[in-house]
């Protein structure tokens, strides 16, 4: 075998408006390239503490066990499930899109006796939808997705949490796309286990999964009769590295942690509420612009995520061709549909550093051009006018 030399690394500059990764803030990229130190270096241990404090603040929690799993968001899902579930434990999972379905798969592999509750894609769960399953299954854990990235649906958590806790269960929440984009109140909503990902509303590349376990969840984990099936994700061992003992478990992804650290600093500089408001403002402008082009949302009215806009592809438009043109002519990435929504839905992300008026304008301009070329009729500039009207309304409201 001859040695193989690959070409120079020259990634194109994209505008990432898909379902993640989203645009990475330049300060976060610079942080990634900061000089690597050891995972037991005093500087790194102090950085871990500061990073955890910022994560707690963003998640609105005092949970000690708030840290970052050394892998992507899906590993965060697996970490919460395999730590809380022992073989034979009952679990209820709410499914209204791809990621609820993934949680079912993960939980079954962990040996859960699983009850699946389904709602149509794009819809959300009302507490009443869960009552039967809770009564029958008497679950140890209930899992639900707060921001379903496949449908753009925004799932309210507070009332369901009350019901879940009244039934004596622990609440596990997928906040992969939620964290940083919409309010996530771990303590006030009594969430027992929550995970997220760095590549959505945190303006950071993919690679880490912020996570939090309530004290009650940690008691359950530390009282397990069986070992957690995953050594890598075992929270009882991770607690000793992320806690005061600093016992070596695995070598932490140092530079990715720098990136998450800087990303969290950016959010705290902006202010958490201001960050959420920015996501909402840009969403409303995008939605107004899309409406002017005759494009409507897949998620139910009143339950639309500001950072993930799942919309029906206009009639007669070739999904792959238009997404390809957006990428090749304008450098804009948006997402196609998954599962039931494949070929029917576009997923337009306005997450983290991608959630900027500039991106709204450039995307609407590009889309208007591509639709016009394909014979769609509307007043030229209508989408821009509608977006700017929405911005004006937002500005006058503050």
């Amino acid at each position: 075998m001859p040695d193989t030399l690959a070409p120079e690394l020259k990634p194109p500059v994209r505008i990432l408006m898909g379902p993640g990764p989203s645009d990475v803030h330049p300060r976060v990229l610079a942080a990634l390239a900061a000089s690597t130190v050891g995972h037991l270096d005093p500087y790194y241990l102090a950085l871990m503490n500061d990073m955890q404090a910022m994560l707690r603040s963003l998640m609105r929690t005092t949970n000690r066990m708030t840290f970052a799993v050394s892998a992507t968001g899906s590993a965060g899902m697996e970490a919460t499930v395999v730590n809380l579930i022992e073989p034979g434990d009952a679990m209820v999972v709410c499914v209204n899109g791809v990621f609820g379905g993934r949680m079912v798969d993960v939980a079954q592999r962990a040996g859960a006796r699983l009850t699946r509750v389904d709602r149509p894609w794009g819809a959300v769960f009302e507490p009443a939808d869960l009552a039967d399953a809770l009564a029958k299954a008497k679950p140890k854990v209930v899992g639900i997705v707060m921001a379903e990235t496949s449908t753009g649906a925004w799932q309210p958590i507070e009332e369901i949490s009350r019901l879940v806790h009244d039934a004596g269960a622990l609440l596990l929440v997928d906040a992969v796309t939620a964290l940083g984009g919409i309010p996530v109140e771990v303590d006030r909503w009594q969430i027992d286990a929550l995970y997220s990902g760095t590549q959505k509303c945190l303006s950071c590349p993919p690679g880490l999964a912020p996570i939090s376990f309530s004290d009650r969840a940690m008691e359950v984990i530390l009282a397990r009769k069986t070992k957690v099936q995953s050594w890598y994700l075992d929270a009882s061992m991770l607690a000793k590295y992320w806690g005061e003992e600093r016992v070596y478990h695995h070598t932490a992804p140092i530079n990715m942690t720098y990136a998450l650290y800087e990303a969290l600093r950016l959010i705290h500089e902006e202010g958490i509420e201001a960050c959420h408001a920015r996501h909402m403002r840009n969403h409303r402008a995008l939605a107004a612009g899309l409406a002017a082009l005759g494009i409507s949302y897949a998620a139910a009215e009143g339950h639309r995520l500001p950072m993930l806009n799942a919309v029906w592809i206009p009639a007669g438009i070739d999904d792959a061709a238009v997404r390809g043109m957006l990428l090749s002519r304008f450098g804009i990435e948006i997402g196609g549909g998954l599962g039931d929504f494949k070929g029917r839905v576009w997923r337009i992300g306005l997450m983290g550093h991608s959630s900027r008026a500039n991106n709204v304008f450039t995307f609407l301009g590009a889309l208007e051009q591509l639709l016009a070329e394909r014979g769609h009729r509307f007043e030229h500039g209508a989408s821009l006018a509608a977006a700017n009207e929405a911005y004006a309304t937002a500005a006058s409201a503050t």
Copy 2:
């Protein structure tokens, strides 16, 4: 809870001569900060192909299923074990240090009927040491660590592989510290599953686990009766993302992949054999310098890893104090001992970009100064003289 703002990111510049992470090449840090693209971007898909080709070349394999697990080296271990083992399968694990012990834990969590074969720390396994266990356990898989980072022992693989295959088992090899530092011949040695980490001899930050499965291993995995217990690490699903279909599984860690890509380019530019020779040359110089200071190795003669020098701490020397001084006064990180070797052994890494004559010189200078301050007697400059003599010998031999 008030918003929490952490201090500016300002990591110190270290010389990383511990057991990993090792020094990251500046070009790899620059690659980390390259602009993020989507995980299904045509550019990224092409980059994955090129990265895989370079990994195959470095591992000396044509295995299709050669890729990088989206997590650190320990997750590479877990990935190989949980894919190959179904509950009740027999597995033999060779233990002569911490990482063999870790593999036992991982395998038991996967439901293996486990037979553990022990050798003293610092020793290696001879084929004869395994004969009994193979005959009695009739294992499906035999796991062994090629470069035991806790002891610095270099385990030969070729003969053991023959024995393992004669017994009808698959061979699983930990090459976390080996890959890039010493020859790893996946095809010639018939290794069925191999994993490594980016933060050792690849001059890259921690965060990915290069891995390879032989076709025979993939047949076994695809014929499983049970699902792999880890969704995140399931090779049958990962094969669809890393293979031609490019089916979305989880969001890949884009920027870490850039870093690994650039790290592999550096090794291929240098040449794989030249890279191994460099590791050996710097090891011999360090060993000569240490001998001049009266310091000897923990691993058996003839089985010492060039990139991980585990040495006995000189009598009367306070482990933590001297390592603390190396870090605070000279910015040099070396590793302490793990497990049985805690407080008795130093682990001096010369891995990847850390394996440079400059680092050998600066480390010997610093250590000589610290030992002299503590009343150890030797001719001043003796360690440097010995190191340079070793370099001269190496130069005249080529």
